[in-house]
Amino acid sequence: MRRSLQEINAGSMADIAFLLLIFFLVTTTMDVDTGIARRLPPPVESPDQEMDIRERNIFKVLVNSADRLLVEGKETDIRDLKDKTKLFFLNPYNDPDLPEKRTETIELLGEIDVSKGVVSLKNDRGTSYQMYIKVQNELTKAFREMRDEMSAMYFGVRFRQLVDEKKIRAIQKAIPIAISEAEPEDIGRKK
């Protein structure tokens, strides 16, 4: 007698699938990596090779080993850092103490005054990483807001929402992220 098409017992299929599921649950992680992106400068060849930047173009930010902030020679709260940075780079009234501007012709934007300012960030070896990230965060926020404002003025959308590669590059050229980190120094002597 010929039997018609025997079915495979699929009762343990669920068990097999469970086993696989649990394996993947254990060996994988779900976290998305996020962070503040930065570009390190190439190493300097000789220590006396100093950049020729005028005093008025430098925005000095110092963080000491007790996580206190000194901005342009004045003790400052971290909450004021962003606005101070923006004011420094925008220099709306062409203050002679604030950075110079050079007029550049940028595609899509026309003639734009680009600030010559540079943030000089210096920290102590004893500064906590948390404070350092906070400072970096505030500086990034200042640049991001300036870019957003310019983008909204010319293209009507925020910088992050720009899709066109040319527009993105134009804004990046008009407001470059100018953060320079000083060569490390050891003052606080704290590990």
């Binding site: 699929a10 299929m13 669920a14 097999i16 699938a17 469970f18 696989l20 599921l21 993947f24 649950l25 060996t27 994988t28 992680t29 779900m30 998305v32 990596d33 996020t34 962070g35 503040i36 992106a37 930065r38 570009r39 390190l40 400068p41 190439p42 190493p43 920290n123 102590d124 070896r125 004893g126 500064t127 906590s128 990483y129 948390q130 350092y132 990230i133 906070k134 970096q136 965060n137 990034t140 926020k141 991001r144 980190e181 490390p184 050891d186 704290k190 590990k191």
Partner: protein, 154 residues
């Protein structure tokens, strides 16, 4: 006269479980797609700092990680911040070799997009981070990322 219907068969009715494997498979596929393989077993305690201006790290295959923090087994290794590369503790001087090895492992075309993600505990002192950054500069790994958790407000 009222008549009671007699129950037929066995007492419990079986639930149809033939769709169970399908459900489990669906879950399995979801986890396979949404997660990534665990890279290392952490030897250091890391709680990354919070930040608002974070970017997503694109292309995980082009990221090499440097972990900095207090050892998990403080009784064995002390409480001083240590660097972890791959699955072992390392010194600052080991970083150029690590970067070179990471570079070797990638395609030649991708090498210049290699990003180094610094995953450091928020209580770490900047001294060790500065040393790491100096080593990275020397070995030509300029693209870095300070790993931090995204929060809407600090």
């Amino acid at each position: 006269m009222a008549r009671f219907k007699k129950k037929k068969g066995t007492g419990v009715t079986r639930i149809n479980t033939s769709a169970l494997p399908d459900i489990i498979f669906m879950l399995l596929f979801f986890f396979m797609v949404a997660t990534t393989m665990r890279e290392i077993t952490p030897l250091v305690k890391i709680r990354v700092p919070d930040a608002t201006e974070v970017q997503k790290l694109e292309k995980k295959s082009l990221v090499s990680y440097i972990y900095v923090g207090q050892p998990v087994k403080t009784a064995l290794y002390g409480t001083e911040s240590r660097i972890q590369l791959n699955d072992s503790f390392a010194e600052v001087s080991d970083i150029p070799e690590y970067i070179a090895r990471e570079r070797e492992a990638r395609d030649e075309a991708d090498r210049k997009f290699l990003t180094t993600s610094i995953k450091a505990d928020q209580m770490t002192r900047m001294g060790i981070i500065t040393d790491i950054k100096q080593e990275l500069r020397k070995s030509g790994a300029f693209k870095i990322n300070y790993s931090s958790r995204k929060v809407s407000k600090l």
